[in-house]
Symmetry: C2
Subunit: 633 residues, 2 copies
């Protein structure tokens, strides 16, 4: 068994595709980890901005903000159900937008999602590792080690996720199932026990661990405009909890038949659990009077950590829960790995991306998409040294831009499908989604523009520009090479053969034998050096003699001068002049090449042949053909 | 004017070689900087070991040690004069040893000198920069900047030296003339004024700057064995002053005619000045009661610095002198640049080194030797972060090993030249040189083995092993390719042509037209995919139709199955099987290749053609020939 088979799994034949399709149980970890884990940080992200308002302020304003977020989530759920049903062959934002709103909107969605996926992968991994590092910071032994190797841990997790994904869709679902179910299970237990305590104590539960007090001097009065701004920022922070919602619709093709049904069931499970987690955790936290802490405080703990400790105490279950949160966060990058290659394939199919993204690898996946995502994610992790907090504002924008375009595209879709039953209701639902996500996009863009969102505003047109250049290139290649005409057999004329020769040896002889087969006109070119005269004599004896005896067309020995000791440029000049002097005629340059057995032996032969090949390719033209004559030692 | 012409100078034609030859004035900086600058640190290196004996001990024992060193230098001078006269075409240690003592001794000398040259370059540059950094350490502004960028400065100087050398021998002599003459001039002035003061004051000159007191508690009695050991170490440290002596003999070919005479004059000037500097500086230092300081002391100053300050005071002249010492030290690496490429050429000419070292570049130099030396030197500077003190023990060994072999070779030379006048005296002189340097080698090896010389003992056999592998390779290639037989014209049979095809387009058509010219047997191979059936119809219309109409031999369309979606391995398998089925017949694989105008466009075409070429080369054999059919957009 080969190492590659052990690490990446045996190659899958094309007809085995069917067995690779997944059901709901594998679909939830694959497409849901990103969305589900946002329950761990979304509420806190919103809460944190309200800290200055004190405990009362937080409790007062959090409810309406949460209501908005949950409503938006429900709208998105119904909206995306419709997308999945309408596009059973994969309805990612790129596909929906480009099919209904035109290629411009499609490219906009593609660029936005590309940024979203790469950032999701980087931020997911880095968030998990950061949490692990801060959890271990109290340990004198492990704390410093983990802290100084944060980037290394990020990259290790990235490689693990990449390898699992290269083993195939099914296996990645299988591998990430345990952490996902552990994450969901422990949090549901926390919510359940918390609610039990609340009910039993009549709404005043006793925390089993210390709850840090809220801020000492809350701001009690704020100008209405400032308060509104604060609430908008809190809302837009909380929207981070929604960025994984489009994942299922993009990956419909991964599901077993009936595809749409299985995909919709998966979406239902993911959104259902997400809503329960968001609502449940917020409710319990509120009942225990838990608010977010200042992240810069030395004794900082996340809201989730305080809540679990309050309900269960700081025992074994606490550590199990927090451990599964860390694992799930780190692996949430997997959703990007499931979707990015599919989207890259869809874009490449329309010639906007290199065609290599269309190739399916040994495990029936679009492997190059996985390589590209791994590379970009590694680059970002390395650039930011494994700490990506500052990137968080950037990726909600990509997600909401894609949402809006996708929903708007669906509205257009229903307008075209005049036969569809109940299309007005569907149009309304998708329209509601488009308006809601569009409004959210504006809020996110406005509130986060200065803190980094402007980077996205620069990157999106840049990426679109690249995609359009690629499209232009492929279009030109196609135009210039497509040939509806039959094979032309007129004007078939034998080429002029050119053979560079340094000395008379077996390699040159082999090339000459081949050259004389190809054409009656063979020109052997020798670049002038001290032994030119000797070569002339050898030429007469070794070549002209036998050729005359056999009464065959005589090859010609040509000596070229080189004042500057270069071999290549006089050769190139000769070939180009020959081509100029013989319009319409093909020139075949025969290059004898020594093939060595060991790699280091390549260093011992001057690399002239390789450079000459490259020069002939770059400076040559349609009429110059290069023939490699290998000589094996 | 091209940038390369400005940086490296215009290319020189081969016939311009004559004008590049140098005289004595350029020869001294080129071949002498390494030797001359050793006057700046050689005496101190010997003195430093004697510090524990106190002022009296230093003064007492230094004289005999210096007498030994100067005697050795004089012996070497006469010995190398003879070598230069006997080998006017370059008498480096490698040439002399291999011609007289056999190739084993030659390789030993080559390996030793190679280590010597690379270390000389690295240590020279690093010593200059270290001195500069320590001189500036008192400046609060420049000190820290220079200190933290030590490696960068080393690399900048390395690049400057490399570029100057690539401009040609003559220019490097011209550029390094000023620093050399400044170095020699200021030190001669120091010696002259110092002696004047000494004479005027009757041997008790007054220092114009503070002279640090010698060590407080000298060891007054030492066991004789320990004392001898100490003296031997001091002697072997002082021998560092001699490592540049062989430089001229190695570079004789750089000189104008009469070569030997000019080279010998250059050697006389270099050794003459070196002896004056060594003797003069030691005499003055002794008269002023100056000893070496502990290099780890916070107020450490070199002996040279103290001496110059004592004679001239710490004024403008002091700084001019120290500045020119720093510059000369940094540029002393130039000697290695002058000699290494010449030696590499001599070794390559005997097949022990890659032949690329035989190629003369645009300025008539063996440019690849310069590249290699620059690369190795940069590597060592980077590995040691620009501080190479610990390498100093290593390179005296290389030098003295080469000296000994060269002198011993000369003895053998005179034994063979029975006609030569006065050959017994010459033999005696070279024999004396061999014995003296051999004895020194033993002393250096013994006293420095533990402090690093063992590295050389490992490196030398390793390098010899590599050179022998290279020789074996070239010998085998020669054996297998040399062909004293005339061109065979029997059995010329047209090849079977194989053309991979993905679809019918202009590129495929071009390849087919060329293939049908080459042979009546053309096999067009298509790797199975969904559109195979469509291709069959196109084949009938576009290819078979016209071919039948023209009554030409029909090409064959072959469809190959691929279960794992790979294109390349089924193609390779087909070609190899075809070759197997047709013994004795050549297979010509025609590879259509798209040539793009901009580099990034290469990323947009899958790189299969390149990989296929490589696979055909590596897995192929004598009978498989690759023909590139380029298609220009």
């Amino acid at each position: 068994m080969k190492v590659s088979d052990i690490v990446l799994g045996r190659p899958l034949a094309t007809h085995e595709e069917h067995a690779e399709h997944i059901g709901v149980a594998a679909g939830v970890p694959i497409f849901g980890l990103d969305g589900l884990t946002s329950a761990a940080y979304g509420p806190e992200a919103a809460m944190a901005l309200l800290i200055p308002l004190g405990l009362f302020g937080v409790m007062h304003y959090l409810l309406p903000i949460f209501a908005c977020i949950l409503t938006l989530l429900v709208i998105l759920y119904f909206s995306y159900r419709q997308t999945i049903t309408a596009y059973p062959n994969g309805g990612g934002s790129y596909t929906v937008a480009s099919e209904n709103l035109g290629s411009g909107a499609g490219l906009l969605a593609a660029a936005a999602l590309m940024i979203d996926y790469i950032l999701t992968a980087a931020v997911g991994i880095s968030a998990g590792v950061t949490a692990l590092v801060s959890a271990s910071s109290e340990s004198p032994k492990w704390g410093p080690i983990l802290h100084s190797h944060q980037l290394l841990f990020c990259l290790i997790i990235l490689v693990v996720i990449a390898i699992v994904n290269m083993r195939g869709v099914k296996e990645s679902g299988f591998v990430f199932m345990l952490p996902t179910f552990l994450f969901v299970g422990t949090l549901l237990l926390t919510i359940g026990l918390g609610i039990y305590h609340i009910v039993v104590t009549g709404g005043h539960p006793t925390a089993l661990a210390n709850i840090p007090p809220p801020i000492a001097d809350p701001i009690t009065s704020l100008k209405p405009m400032l308060l509104l701004w604060l609430l908008m920022k809190a809302f837009s922070n909380g929207c981070a909890a929604m960025t994984g919602v489009e994942a299922v619709s993009n990956g419909t093709t991964a599901f077993k038949e009936p595809r749409s049904k299985n995909a919709n069931r998966t979406l239902t499970v993911i959104i259902g659990i997400l809503i329960i987690l968001l609502a449940g955790l917020s409710y319990v936290a509120r009942a225990y009077s838990i608010t977010a802490m200042d992240p810069d405080a030395t004794n900082y703990q996340s809201v989730l950590s305080i809540t679990v400790a309050a309900v269960f105490g700081r025992g074994g279950f606490y550590f199990l829960t927090m451990g599964s949160v860390l694992a799930a966060l780190s692996f949430s990058a997997n959703t990007a790995f499931a979707d990015f290659p599919r989207m890259a394939r869809a874009i490449a199919a329309k010639d906007y991306f290199p065609h290599v993204f269309l190739v399916r690898g040994r495990r029936l996946l679009f492997s190059h998409g996985i390589y590209a995502l791994t590379g970009f994610t590694a680059l970002i992790l390395i650039l930011f040294n494994g700490v990506t907090d500052r990137l968080i504002p950037l990726y909600a924008i990509g997600a909401f831009l894609a949402f809006t375009l996708s929903q708007a595209g669906m509205v257009k879709h229903w307008m075209k499908e005049k036969q569809e039953k109940g299309r007005h209701l569907k149009m309304f639902l998708n329209g509601l989604g488009a308006v809601a996500t569009g409004a959210t996009l504006v809020v996110v863009l406005v509130t986060k523009f200065m803190s980094g969102a402007w980077v996205t505003a620069i990157l999106v047109p840049f990426i679109i520009g690249i995609m359009m250049m690629i499209k232009r290139h492929y279009t030109r290649v196609n135009l210039e090479t497509v040939d509806p005409a039959p094979l032309r057999l007129s004007g078939l004329e034998q080429p002029i053969v050119v053979i560079p020769m340094a000395r008379w040896d077996k390699i040159t002889e082999k090339a000459m034998r081949f050259g004389m087969l190809m054409s009656p006109i063979v020109k052997v070119v020798h670049v002038d050096s001290e032994d030119t005269d000797a070569l002339g004599a050898v030429w007469n004896d070794m070549v002209l003699g036998p050729v005359r005896a056999a009464n065959m067309p005589e090859p010609e020995l040509i000596t070229v001068k080189s004042s500057y000791r270069t071999i290549l440029s006089p050769l190139m000049d000769y070939v180009l002049k020959l081509e100029d002097d013989n319009p319409g005629r093909k020139i075949a340059v025969l290059l004898p090449e020594l093939v060595v057995r060991r790699w280091w032996e390549n260093l011992l032969h001057n690399q002239r042949v390789q450079i000459l090949k490259l020069m002939l390719l770059l400076k040559g033209n349609q009429r110059i053909v290069v023939v490699n004559i290998p000589w094996y030692l």
